[in-house]
């Protein structure tokens, strides 16, 4: 990722959400993005996740220049290479846990029976065996976030993107989620990029990127950056 700018609005109302960011993330890294509110963390994350395109700059994903891809190609890229976890869980309401987890597989055209089996297995991985038919409003925040993790992992993507995954959870639940993420990362050798405010959560990462006003100001291991 080189010279990335993301600019909202024009003229006096211009907001430089990202102001010239150069960044390389290698396969298998566990990266935490930190920084004050409004510093461009989510914007950076969305660009990495191909949910958004930069105003200027070049982003190569596994050697492919993302700027050359159209809307549907980006969708396919997300489908096969990325899993998303959000602060607000973003599960489909009134839909069972297992159906939520199945969703990415539906778009991938996976057969019904296989789909159900893989979704159930993914739920088991996050410790929710037996809660398959619960709807999100019957689950606690931590459980909902674990359903979301199962959904992000069910397609076995090499890259997991988590925007403040513990932002809506209490400390105990946060720890549970982080332990789980770390375990999955080690087991599967996936890359995780995570936005967080909390140093306790960021400590799970191997590398911390610190953003201020759309610029990457610090980049190093937790020991060097966290007080």
């Amino acid at each position: 990722m080189r010279g990335i700018y993301k600019i909202y609005g024009t003229g006096a109302a211009e907001v430089r959400a990202l102001d010239g960011v150069d960044l390389t993330i290698r396969d298998g890294e566990f990266v935490a993005i930190m920084g004050p509110s409004g510093s461009g963390k989510s914007t950076c994350m969305n660009i990495i996740g191909c949910l958004d395109v930069p105003t200027a700059g070049e982003y190569l994903f596994r050697g492919v220049d993302v700027a050359g891809l159209d809307r549907d190609e980006l969708a396919l890229l997300r489908r096969h290479f990325m899993g998303f976890i959000f602060q607000s869980f973003n599960l489909l309401p009134r839909v069972t846990a297992v159906a939520n987890v199945e969703l990415p597989l539906i778009y991938d055209g996976v057969k019904r029976a296989t789909r159900r089996a893989r979704a159930t297995e993914a739920l088991r991985t996050v410790g929710l065996a037996g809660r398959e038919s619960a709807t999100p409003n019957q689950l606690s925040g931590g459980q909902q976030q674990r359903v979301a993790i199962a959904r992000a992992l069910v397609t076995e993507p090499p890259l997991l993107l988590a925007d403040e995954p513990t932002g809506n959870l209490d400390t105990a639940m946060s720890d549970g989620i982080m332990v789980q993420l770390d375990r999955i990362r080690v087991e599967r050798g996936i890359t995780i990029i995570m936005v967080t405010h909390e140093p306790s959560v960021a400590r799970y990462a191997e590398r911390i990127l610190h953003f201020v006003d759309g610029r990457l100001v610090k980049d190093g291991p937790p020991a060097a950056i966290l007080p």
Binding site: D52, R79, H80, F86, L91, P104, I106, Y107, T155
Partner: protein, 402 residues
Amino acid sequence: MNWLDIFLMAFQAIVRNKLRSFLTALGIIIGVGSVVVMVHLGQSATQSVTDEIASIGSNLLFVMPGTAQRGPGGVRSIARPFELDDAEAIEREVPGILVAPALTSNATVVFGNANETIAVIGTNNNYFIVRNHALAHGREFEDSELGAGSAVCIIGTTLVEEMYAGQQPLGTTLRVGRTACRVIGVLEKKGQSMGQDRDKTIVMPIKAVQRRLVGKLDVQTIYVSALVDGTTRTVQRDIESLLRQRRRVASAADDDFYVRDTQDIAEALASTTNTLTILLGAIAAVSLLVGGIGIMNIMLVSVTERIREIGIRLAIGARTRDVLMQFLVESVALSTLGGLIGLILGVAGTWLITTRMNMPFLLSPAVMLMGFSFAVVIGIVFGFFPARKAAHLNPVDALRHE
């Protein structure tokens, strides 16, 4: 993403929001229902008119004064009426026919305590053959009664039922207008015809109606029946030239009378009911269109409500066409479901109305197919815009949406 999954997804969305789905489909239900009912009723009406007219008699000609540019309904009454002489001349000059001059007048009919206003037809004995309405009991008029215009009458079965209450009518005396009238016969039962009770009638010698009820020597209609099949056209021409002579119509002028056969009348009436059918069908189609706009409305609301859901789907790898199909199939499923329910209700409604109104119950597959496919098309057309809107949302904005 395969079709089954798309359908299941749409079906789940519909079921998840039952009330809203029902209200959305309601417009289509009413639209398709009314198209089916209206057009079917129109066709039934046309059919019953055609049937009725065929039952009047196929070799029958109506001769009436007036001009007939606009069919039997558009008669100009300023034309000179016929007289009995005209009917006699036709009978004398044109071979192979039966002639029944007729004059109808409404009169109050009283028997015992019962009284009713009834159309009294003055005519001769040919009427029973020409109009295909024979006697069940009693006898026809005698020549002396016809010649003198005697106060004798032959009555329809409705009158017998309503005024006699099981009593034997033959030989009794009815008061018709101011005339005491002896009942000499009873007509056989004919039933309803074009909304009219053909049994609620009294037949008298034409001279009796002329003198005792109307007070004029007019003849309203001359019924002519060709005795040999296929000769009505020749008979019609003969009558026309004879009447032009008798009524001294200048050779350049139009006839001041008209001769119609039942075929003409059937066609004229059928074309009227057809126009009506098209009109009603068009009104119903407009309501279907309004139903379509309803679908678009609700689908737009639904898209707005589900922006976040769309964002999630886009984030996990749904392509533009996946989201487009999801919402399009949802709206088409709604309109198809609405179309089906509308079809069933429409058929039920048609059955109910036709049986109540003594009309033939006929279903036209073409009409049903048209109404139904119209509903499906409306689902596609009006579902497209909201679906497109959903499919082209920006994933980040959609996810950010509250």
